[in-house]
Amino acid sequence: MNNNSSAGVRSLQLSSLYQLTRIRFLLVLREPEAVFWIFVFPILLAVGLGIAFRNRPADVLPVAATTPPLTQALAADKGLAASQMDEAAGRHSLATGKILLLAVQQPGGVEYVFDDTNPDARTARMIADRAVQAAAGQRDAVHAQNLPVHETGSRYIDFVVPGLLGMNLMGSAMWGLGFAIVEARQKKLLKRMVASPMPRWQYLASFLLSRLAMLVIEVVFFLGFAAIVFGVPFRGPLWQLAVICVLTSMVFSALGLLVASRAKTMEAVSGLMNLVMLPMWILSGVFFSASRFPSVIQPFVRALPLTAANDALRANMLQGVGIQHLMAPLGILIFWFVVPFAVSLRIFRWR
């Protein structure tokens, strides 16, 4: 028994795939910058965005009116903070953003001065009018009551966490593979490796395997943080979330491999990598929904791997959509894995 397990350890020590993977893993962990970008940066970003876009209690909107009765009528609504000023001062306050709406008493009624492209001002207009009408004796035809809820899953942080996860999976896979391979090529290490009996496929496979090992730490760390600190929901099955993460990481590893397959210098590979990633940072719905782009470019936006990854991650986490209903994004991801991987195997420069 004892003999068996020590022989097992020895053959593991000797296994070149294990050694290659282990060394890739060690090299990432020994690079402080890499550890920062992979583990710390996404959390900092999530915290920053979480603070900036936290859901505040409904704001009280500042408004003004030109006469005391009108001011009193506006102040009666809890949603408004009303002050009194003459029309000139009111217009000045409006222009400098101190108030959102100015109610001017005219002989024939009330005139509201506000910027109708500003949603807050439009809200102020509605509340102000309701207050003025109520003060004038209007009664609701139907009795209505408000019952506020603050549902997790609908907040901005819930939207952005899957997006950040997708972006992070893209960045760590592409930088991780791209830089390591080009550096090895530049330092003639690739040439030395192929001068040994190392099977070439194992060298490439070791990148994917070490990426998987890193992925477990990376994803658990980030999502764990998001769940504990922000209470981000996980409505879909976790194993399906894991499948989506693994697939996403493999897609961007393959793209990283493709980008690095011929580049000879760090500058060249950095440029290529930015060329590939920059459009996706903007278009693929990391920080805001990809559906905001004009419908002309929607087919292009939908075909990007990061869009597919973010859609699948959001559907799983926020809506609990089962994997069987995500065949479209998963199909796009599989395409983006198979094609770049096959092409890079074909054109890879070993020296």
Binding site: Q13, L14, S15, S16, Y18, Q19, L20, I23, L26, L27, R30, E31, A184, K187, K188, L189, K191, R192, V194, A195, S196, P197, M198, R351
Partner: protein, 329 residues
């Protein structure tokens, strides 16, 4: 299958040369890097490929290592060729390349463990570390090693598979003199252990010290082949006399013409050549020839502005064959 192969090659080991090259040609774009080259390396010998930078040494050795494919010609290692037996050959040879940089953040031991894992048979990590004399650096990161230590690590990665044939490409280029001597000791220890070694160098002293036989290369061809002693003997004398003369003692005096015939008539002087106003004589009996050379120059009314002698080296062989100095390149 593999076992059988090894057994076969052992039986016929005596007959099959470690390396056989016939009519090798290799061009890059329109540059003929190697242009019809051939030699043989026997088992257990240390063979040197010698020549200036750009002579085609690295191209030749890379074709032998299976990193480049020849345009024409035969290359056989241990009786096998790259086209049919590349997996087998990779297991049986060890390679140290010029200017490989191993990852800085790995330790010596981790690097060797990685390379050891590629070979079916080989020596232990401990043994490779001992052979390369890196015991104290075992746990040190590669980034912290000196140039000589890095080169010994490169050598160790070539040795972990216990290779039958070891290729060393410019093993001491860029090292300081002490690190060079250290590496030479290492190669000599490997020679004593009976390994077949093929090395390239542009240092003639290195080749003289380490190699049993050398091939001198220039412009993609072998221009001379043999043991260092044999090649040096072709210079025609054991010693080289170098001098410069002028017609007057004035410091700025122009170099003077000299009667070459009367110099070579001196007993012991084998040949005379001039390059950049520096005269070179190859001489057999230095102790009797030098006074006669002095007397002859005096008689011609010439004054010595420089004079020195050294034992003939492979450098002089190269100069005699090409009319150029190695370091000029």
């Amino acid at each position: 299958m593999t076992e059988q192969h090894t057994a076969n090659s052992d039986i016929s080991a005596g007959a099959i040369p470690a390396l056989l090259i016939r009519g090798l040609k290799k061009a890059f774009a329109d540059v003929r890097a190697v242009d019809g080259l051939g030699f043989e390396v026997h088992r257990g010998e240390c063979f040197g490929l010698l020549g200036p930078n750009g002579a085609g040494k690295t191209t030749t050795i890379e074709v032998c290592e299976g990193l480049n494919e020849q345009d024409e010609g035969t290359v056989e290692l241990l009786g096998l060729n790259w086209r049919e037996h590349s997996l087998e050959l990779r297991q049986r040879i060890g390679i140290q390349l010029q200017e490989t940089q191993f990852p800085d953040k790995l330790t010596v031991e981790e690097t060797l463990r990685l390379f050891r894992s590629f070979y079916r048979h080989g020596i232990s990590i401990d043994e490779s570390i001992r052979t390369a004399q890196l015991e104290e650096k075992r746990k040190a990161r590669v980034g912290g090693l000196s140039g000589g230590q890095k080169q010994r690590l490169a050598m160790a990665t070539a040795l972990v598979g216990d290779p039958e044939l070891l290729f060393l490409d410019e093993p001491t280029t860029g090292l300081d003199p002490q690190a060079r001597r250290h590496l030479w000791d290492l190669v000599e220890a490997l020679k004593r252990a009976g390994r077949t070694i093929i090395l390239t160098t542009h240092y003639m002293d290195e080749a003289e010290r380490l190699c049993d036989r050398v091939a001198i290369m220039d412009h993609g061809r072998v221009i001379a082949q043999g043991s260092p002693q044999q090649l040096i003997a072709t210079v025609g004398g054991e010693d080289i006399v170098e001098f410069a003369v002028s017609a007057s003692l004035a410091k700025e005096a122009a170099p003077a013409a000299i009667d070459s015939g009367s110099l070579t008539a001196i007993p012991g002087v084998q040949s005379h050549r001039v390059s950049d106003a520096l005269h070179q004589l190859s001489v057999t009996e230095l102790h009797t020839a030098v006074p006669l050379i002095f007397a002859e120059l005096k008689q011609q009314g010439l004054h010595l502005t420089e004079f020195r002698t050294h034992s003939a080296t492979l450098e002089d062989v190269f100069v005699r064959l090409t009319g150029r100095n190695l370091r000029d390149e």
